[in-house]
Symmetry: C2
């Protein structure tokens, strides 16, 4: 306590450090076990919500002919490194070699204390950083067995050593759906249909934004800065947040010539309806072969979409770039129309994903659903319908040894009807059993004591109303039929 | 080639090394990417089988009132270490601290090259080794929020740095179901019911073996070697494999006194029906309080079981010990009646699982289903019914741009019926499209070319028989009604 008091009198008093210190002491006092920062436990409530989202997504993926695969959590570092840029390499969790991990390390390498070099000698494996690179590895590894076009989906956790912060975790699930080995724009259209169907089923209103990387290349070429496409797209990407002046400022800082920035202005100011935008761009980019190809691709895609009831939700957004450098065609991003939480789904076409693994010229397109953000949106909009039929529906009270046989018989009858039921396992006070039902939100309680057993009856208590009703044991099936139906 | 030839002339020629070398060279030649040894990719076929097993297990768990939770893949090493014995500690995969992992390491510690000590300084986290310890950690961490008795299930992968071998992997799924905070033997009975129901649904004939740790303690005490219970149970556990003489030999090697081994013989020779065995044991262990308690517990459990149709599958097996030292009451193990593959499910009661995390005196009981072995058994017995309704049911051939609109309309009609359907995305030769359907085992093909479109018709080809049939577009719903029903 003396040390604590000393801290309080520090000149540069910092409330945050003080708070951290207090919570550390508190943790020590109760010596509660904990989990690594940035990771999460999922309680039953959270699990049921997530299961609902995953099941919905899977159902749609299957309806559209996509097939599940899974890959191991650990990949060889040779598979992962160099695929996500320098920053990405740093964020990969590495796994210490098992056994004598220092065996092959030279003394001088140890003494130099070069972490980067050393980690390559003591770690061969890493946790997957996303599902895309393992998918590319999978396609190359099994190229002789797979049937192309290969339509796969994959729902698994990924790990990143990011600084933990609100809404950003070190372990999170990705739900990826990709088709590889087909150039057809019908695939982009199908993915947009999948997006629409998933979010319709989840009851989330969305805006789907589309762009094409070839148009961005065309623009970069048109303004005479073809080699600076990354700087330019990164700047354009921020238009929403920092406005036209901000984008221009960023471009100048990056060293883009004033004339080029000037030539870019008509693109930043493009407004209006999709067709009008496309026509204006055709005018500007008429001499860029790549740009015109991008425009033609978008025209075809919009022609499929226009024949559909989803057309109202889809818009062309020339500022959409989505950082990742491997996109070569369509770029897709989905936002909630009601909650400002960033992208909840996104992806695009990549023409050479498997190239790094030695398989050239195979084009793919895919999107990834962000389960965490989707869950946040649904929580905020209160969209989770009652998931109570996923949990126990009936609790039978435990009256003691003499009554157990009768209770077990009721339990069996209920479970045969596929009704989720429990018998309270311990012979404790009924009040305690009732409060268990209450806390677990079990809607029906069955009371079958001496009196009921003598008359071959049971008492049903409806927890929401407190109402009680006696029925004959033989009528149990007809009484609970509605619960059985709720489960079908 | 010259070097290879040199190797072939080595005096101590070793075929295995030679084979390894060849396959290494072969790998290099085709430079195929690979995954870490002991891990697996799951293809769609394997995924559908595993999904079927997991879904069946989950359905039963829920019917019995168990609730899902999930814990992170990474746990703090302080949570994991010391819980699985020395050997277990060695098998935990450790995760290198991110950032400058050498920062806090002293030069002298580096120079000493003590792997064990160093790994504790450069790794704070590890991959979970099983689901039981994370569950115990979870219960203690959220003790104030949980409702007891807490009935949870958890289906997640675990990782062990075991030497990979046939049927043993470094990443595999566990399906655990436990109830914690209840002493009642009704829980043991319920778990046996769950086991019976899961394997009945999977169509696997099983034998459920039961024992009680208290009886084993009683026996150890009775023969005067109470402190040697681990050695004794480990030896008894091998009775099946090495016979009575073998067990006696092992006991003598471990230093168990000859008189004690002699006194053990009646237990090793116990035969016959459950009740007869229990009576004989009551005679022998009449002076052991613990032993008599174990016998009484088994009697109660068997009295629940006897009232049930599962009784034929359940047998008392006094040699059942299941290595793990934390069991304190019932011990449960399940084997396939038809395939000799070892235990496919097992568990027991543990009275002090959460004690290591500071929460004393909370009793739990649970079992774990081995998904990999269950899958192996079902493969060997050919028990996977057609899972084809999980995959695409109808493929619409792609005749080109003029016919796309008509095809997209058919696609929409089918998907509205929840029939899994695809349109081949590329305009390639029909032969190629047909072989795609063939390879993917898609049972129905729809042909809608110029001729069909003109007449508002479509041709359906049944792949199994080769039969073709023309129907009106408006009749598509009634024609495919049986597929829709197969999905419900």
């Amino acid at each position: 306590m003396k040390r604590l008091y000393g801290l309080l009198t520090l000149r540069t008093f910092d409330y945050y450090s003080y708070f951290c210190l207090l919570s550390f002491i508190f943790d020590l006092m109760i010596s509660k076990p904990s989990i690594p920062k940035g990771t999460r436990d999922f309680s039953t409530d959270e699990m049921l919500k997530r299961e609902f989202i995953f099941d919905t997504i899977k159902k749609v993926f299957k309806l559209y002919g996509y097939q599940p695969i899974e890959t191991p959590a650990m990949e060889n570092l040779s598979t992962l490194l160099g695929k996500y840029g320098e920053e990405g390499d740093r964020l990969i969790f590495r796994i210490l070699n098992s056994g004598d991990f220092l065996a092959g390390v030279r003394d001088e390498d140890l003494q130099k204390r070069e972490g980067g070099k050393l980690s390559q000698q003591i770690c061969e494996k890493g946790l997957r950083y996303d599902l895309t690179v393992p998918f590319a590895r999978y396609v190359v590894q099994y190229r002789d067995k797979l049937i192309f076009p290969f339509k796969r989906y994959q729902i698994q956790p990924v790990w990143r050593a990011d600084r933990p912060q609100k809404g950003r975790y070190r372990e999170f699930f990705q739900c990826d759906v990709d088709v590889i080995g087909s150039d057809s724009l019908l695939n982009e259209y199908e993915l947009i249909k999948i997006i629409d169907e998933v979010f319709t089923l989840l009851d989330i209103s969305i805006v789907i934004k589309l762009n094409n990387r070839k148009i961005l290349s065309g623009i970069a070429g048109y303004i005479g800065e073809g080699s600076r496409i990354t700087d330019i797209t990164v700047a354009i990407d921020k238009l929403d947040k920092i406005g036209i002046d901000g984008v221009n400022e960023v471009l100048r800082e990056k060293g883009v010539a004033a004339g080029a920035v000037q030539k870019l202005q008509p693109f930043l100011k493009l407004k209006g309806e999709t067709n009008a935008k496309l026509m204006k761009m055709e005018e500007l980019l008429s001499k860029s072969e790549t740009g015109m190809k991008g425009i033609a691709e978008l025209r075809t895609l919009f022609s499929f979409i226009r024949a559909d009831k989803i057309s109202g939700k889809v818009e062309l957004d020339l500022t959409l770039a989505r950082g990742l450098n491997y996109y070569t065609g369509a770029i897709i991003e989905v936002r909630s129309a009601d909650v400002a939480i960033g992208s909840i789904c996104g992806g695009g076409r990549y023409d050479d994903l498997t190239g790094v693994f030695g398989m050239k010229g195979v084009s793919g397109v895919g999107v990834s659903f962000g389960a965490d953000r989707i869950c946040d949106v649904m929580n905020q909009l209160n969209l989770f319908r009652s998931l109570s039929s996923s949990s126990t529906q009936v609790l039978i009270l435990n009256f003691g040894e003499a009554e157990i046989k009768y209770a077990l018989n009721i339990l069996k009858l209920l479970r045969n009807l596929k009704i989720k039921a429990e018998l309270y396992p311990d012979q404790v006070k009924l009040k305690k059993q009732m409060s268990y039902a209450d806390a677990r939100e079990i809607p029906y309680i069955i009371i079958a004591g001496e009196e009921e057993i003598r008359a071959n009856e049971l008492t049903i208590k409806i927890m929401s109303s407190g109402e009680q009703k006696k029925i004959q044991l033989k009528d149990i099936k007809s009484y609970f039929l509605f619960l059985k139906k709720a489960n079908d």
